[in-house]
């Protein structure tokens, strides 16, 4: 068990790396004849900040707006209101051109690796794609870096020529992580990255991520619906309920003394047998 | 009702756009109707120029188009240069003949398609079904033109059918029933031809619609309740299949119109088809535009009627709309 490696390490107490202020996202739904318009609020009044090297867990049930928030943070969707500050720059105020070098720094890993990888491309091509898009290095350099990243995430270099469908679920997720690392991001957003995998594989992936965090000093935003699964992994936990953050505290504090009634509900909900079997009883680590 | 209004407006706008398009295309065409007159040395260039001016041929496009629109409003649809009369009455007669032909063949085709399709569906997978499948494929593959020419050959070689036209010469004043019979005899071959070329697609769709109904839970439940025979068929199966079939009716109008053009030319049935071809060859501008527009009117009307039928017959659509 590598629980020790996953414990949050001493954090850098300097300026916040990423700061979100008053972020909100609304959808307007059109009826069949565009006559009726319903406004759906995905999330509203989201404020938080992350320091370098810390891990923030974003938990809540399905429909709480976590995934939408994650996509907005990764700039895959534009938020309706608010600001996102990164290393002192308001990212939403940048033009498209200025944005391109910055978007390297924040990357997203999807829940379903199979859909996030083009089934027609080989592993090496997939990992090297961000480099190719940003035109970094020659073709050979890109390929070399792809192989290096594969090794780093625990995939053998022999499978560089294979296509995504030839890998297992866990391996595909590793591929996706390798690809996200290609641009050397400072922040990695994991949108339910382990939810589609079996427990064994989840453990392995979390180990990998912890190792990467230790080696590269990256910050993570880990979105999940499973509160207990993030208990070791995250430094801070923010609980979302119906589009708002209802509680945001250091991980240890939250588990010991949950203040918000919803948080308590989440904690009290069906305990995951698997996490008990994996030896992560809440009480045991205290 | 709002829905109907919206569709009508959409259709009118579409027709206007089409009229503009056809008119513009014809303007692009080099040469005009009176070119053929130049060959005749007895007609002076002055006469030709005079005729041209009288019909407004040299004028710029917007003026000609506006004049044509005015003519449409008055119900004339412009002037046929070849027949030297208003276009509208010309189209009326031809359109009547085309409608006669297409309605009779549509009836033929559906009267054949439904039994064959249903029969095929009930005997699904068995040899008779496969045979029907092969026959429909074969019919689909053979180009319409060849089929029509084959029918013409049949008529000429066997003499069983008249080889063209709508009425026999000299049959004019022979009394209503005799005339009707005469027309009917001339109608058989073209209507049959048209029905044959549209039949395969219909059979396929009827068959698959029926199969879907047979496999649906509601149908099985009805059978389980002991409902059987004609009641089962008419009130349950046919009703359920009516939605896709009515849509099919709407869609098949376009192909039917195109095919009717061909069959009319090959078998000399005096409908819109031969008129259009003749008008193009002689550059009778307003006739061409009028005929093209009319075909579009038929198509759009057919689609609209099909949509209305769907609306009336399928309660699900009404509920959807109300939301």
């Amino acid at each position: 068990m590598s629980a020790g490696a996953r414990e949050p390490h001493k954090v850098d107490q300097s300026e916040p790396l990423l700061e979100v202020r008053g972020l909100a996202k609304e959808y307007a739904e059109h009826g069949p004849f565009a006559r009726s318009r319903r406004v759906v609020v995905a999330f509203d009044e989201v404020n938080f900040s992350i320091r370098r090297g810390t891990t923030l867990a974003l938990v809540g049930e399905s429909g709480a707006g976590k995934s939408t928030l994650a996509r907005c943070l990764a700039f895959l969707e534009p938020p309706t209101r608010g600001e996102i500050w990164f290393e002192g720059v308001n990212l939403l105020a940048l033009s498209k051109q200025e944005h391109i070098p910055v978007c390297r720094k924040i990357q997203l890993i999807h829940q379903d690796p199979a859909s996030a990888l083009n089934p027609g491309m080989t592993a090496a091509e997939i990992i090297a794609e961000p480099l190719a898009i940003q035109r970094l290095g020659t073709k050979d350099e890109q390929r070399a870096r792809a192989i290096e990243l594969m090794r780093r995430v625990g995939l053998s270099a022999d499978s560089a020529g294979k296509r995504p469908l030839e890998f297992s679920g866990g391996q595909r997720q590793r591929l996706a992580i390798a690809r996200a690392l290609a641009l050397e991001p400072s922040v990695l957003i994991l949108d339910e990255a382990c939810s589609g995998l079996d427990l064994q594989t989840q453990e392995l992936i979390l180990d990998l991520l912890a190792g990467l965090r230790a080696a590269l000093g990256m910050s993570f935003i880990y979105v999940s619906h499973d509160l207990r699964a993030v208990s070791d992994f995250a430094d801070e936990v923010a609980v979302m309920y119906q589009g708002r953050i209802v509680e945001h505290r250091a991980s240890a504090d939250l588990f010991e003394d949950p203040k918000d009634p919803y948080t308590r509900e989440l904690l009290g909900a069906m305990p995951s047998m698997e996490s008990i079997c994996a030896g992560r009883l809440i009480g045991a680590s205290r | 009702m709002k829905y109907l209004g919206g569709r009508l407006l959409h259709a009118i706008l579409l027709l206007l756009a089409i009229s503009l398009l056809s008119f513009a295309l014809l303007q692009l065409a080099p040469g005009d109707f009176f070119d053929s007159m130049r060959v005749n040395p007895r007609i002076s260039q002055q006469t030709i120029d005079g005729l041209r001016a009288a019909h407004g041929i040299g004028q710029p496009f917007p003026i000609r188009y506006a004049r044509w629109l005015a003519s449409v409003a008055r119900g004339h649809l412009g002037v046929s240069l070849a027949y030297n009369s208003a276009v509208a009455p010309l189209l009326r007669v031809r359109a009547r003949n085309t409608l006669l032909l297409t309605s009779v063949s549509t009836l033929f085709a559906w009267l054949l398609a439904i039994p064959i399709g249903v029969f095929s569906a009930t005997r699904r997978g068995r040899n008779i079904d496969r045979a029907v499948g092969v026959a429909t494929s074969a019919l689909l593959t053979i180009p319409d033109l060849l089929l029509f020419l084959g029918l013409l050959l049949l008529a000429v070689r066997t003499g069983w059918f008249p080889s063209g036209g709508m009425v026999s010469p000299g049959a004019d004043n022979a009394g209503f029933w005799k005339m009707a019979g005469d027309v009917a005899r001339h109608l058989i071959l073209p209507a049959f031809g048209l029905a044959i070329v549209t039949l395969p697609v219909l059979v396929r769709h009827v068959r698959s619609a029926m199969i879907q109904v047979f496999e649906s839970p509601f149908f099985r439940a009805a059978r389980g309740h002991g409902i059987s025979g004609p009641r089962l068929f008419f009130r349950y199966a046919l009703r359920a299949a009516s939605n896709p079939l009515i849509s099919l009716l709407g869609f098949s109008i376009g192909t039917m119109l195109s095919a009717s053009l061909l069959v009319e030319v090959v078998l000399s049935w005096p409908g819109l088809g031969p008129l259009l071809v003749e008008a193009i060859l002689s550059r009778d501008v307003y006739v061409v535009v009028g005929a093209v527009m009319l075909s579009s009117v038929f198509l759009l009307t057919g689609n609209l009627v099909a949509d209305l039928l769907l609306f009336a017959s399928d309660p699900r659509i009404r509920v959807e709309r109300a939301e």
Partner: protein
């Protein structure tokens, strides 16, 4: 397995047919305009292996033909036997419009004639005209289909990828083309061109006309694919890496459309061949003396042809296997790529 077999068999058949047509000059005994007024409406020449005395000849031969002017019939005239010769030098022709040659596969020495499918009113060999006509009709169909799918692909991709008002405008535009029965639309567009189009260059104009009428369905289908491909996660991911629209289209989205594009091609080619044939049949296609399958069929409307000259129908019969092969291929492709029909 069955589907693959269908696809392969039909493609082989199509390939063979097209190669024959491509080699029209080589395979045709005569040029397409070569007239032989003495031999108007001659029935197909019979090729014999066994002569009047009953002896077998390995090399097939034909008899000279006498023309009975009294009743316009033709009779074979043994014992004037003329053997078939292979690889003869004959009328000049061009391969693919570029290379000149004079070599023909078979021929007979004068005054015998080799009319495999008989002759028409001007004494022109129907078989040669069938082959040359095929070049025109097939080429027209293929180029027009490529045009339709090309335009449809571009329009559909733009509409599907950008959505919004571009989508609306383009799809409204394509609505226009749906509102007319295709043959009427074809005629309307055809009427914009000069009536008599004797030159091959104007052939291209004709082809574009045909191709222009049918772009709306491929456009709709491709638009659908692009719309759903655009939402795929790997496309979003690439966007997250800073990919431009052009890159996304080129690398991720357009490759998804190739299957449907191919199927549409297979569907449209026979339709467009038929469109050219129909135009020529009605006298709206390429003018004399260049043959097209349509003009060959046009003679079938004449009474005397129908009643007496049965061989004029042979070209029509020969067309059926071609269309059958195309339909089979299109069916198989549709099954494979499961394109949704409108």
């Amino acid at each position: 397995m069955n589907r693959n077999y269908k696809l392969r068999a039909s493609i082989v058949l199509l390939g063979a047919f097209h190669v024959f047509i491509l080699l029209a000059g080589f395979l045709a005994p005569y040029g397409y305009a070569t007239q032989d007024r003495d031999m108007a409406f001659a029935p197909p020449t019979r090729v014999h292996f066994v002569d009047a005395h009953g002896s077998f000849h390995a090399r097939p031969f034909v008899y000279g033909v006498k023309n009975n002017v009294s009743d316009s019939s033709y009779e074979e005239d043994p014992p004037n036997a003329y053997p078939l010769r292979l690889l003869v030098s004959g009328a000049p022709y061009k391969i693919a419009g570029l290379f000149s040659a004079r070599l023909h596969l078979v021929g007979v020495s004068a005054p015998a004639r080799l009319f495999l499918l008989g002759t028409d009113a001007y004494g022109r060999d129907q078989f040669s005209r069938f082959l040359y006509g095929g070049q025109l009709s097939l080429l027209a169909g293929m180029i027009a289909a490529a045009l339709s799918v090309g335009i449809g692909g571009i329009v559909g991709s733009l509409a599907g990828f950008y959505g919004g008002w571009i989508d609306n405008a383009l799809m409204r535009g394509s609505d226009l083309f749906f509102a007319l029965p295709w043959l009427y639309l074809l005629f309307a567009v055809r009427s914009a061109l000069p009536l008599h189009v004797p030159e091959w260059q104007v052939f291209l104009l004709l082809v574009s006309v045909i191709g222009l009428i049918g772009w709306s369905r491929p456009a709709r289908l491709i638009r659908g694919i692009v719309l759903s491909a655009r939402e795929r996660n790997f496309v979003r991911a690439a966007r997250g890496f800073g990919a431009s629209d052009a890159y996304l289209l080129r690398r991720h989205i357009l490759p998804q459309t190739y299957g449907v594009a191919f199927t549409q091609l297979a569907l449209l080619i026979p339709q467009y061949i038929l469109a050219e044939v129909t135009l020529s049949f009605l006298g709206l296609g390429i003018g004399e003396p260049v043959p097209s399958w349509g003009s060959l069929l046009a003679t079938l409307q004449h009474y005397d042809v129908l009643s007496s000259y049965w061989w004029m129908f042979l070209p029509a019969v020969l067309l059926v296997p071609l269309f059958f092969a195309y339909h089979t291929a299109a069916d198989a492709l549709q099954e494979r790529y499961e394109s949704v029909s409108l």
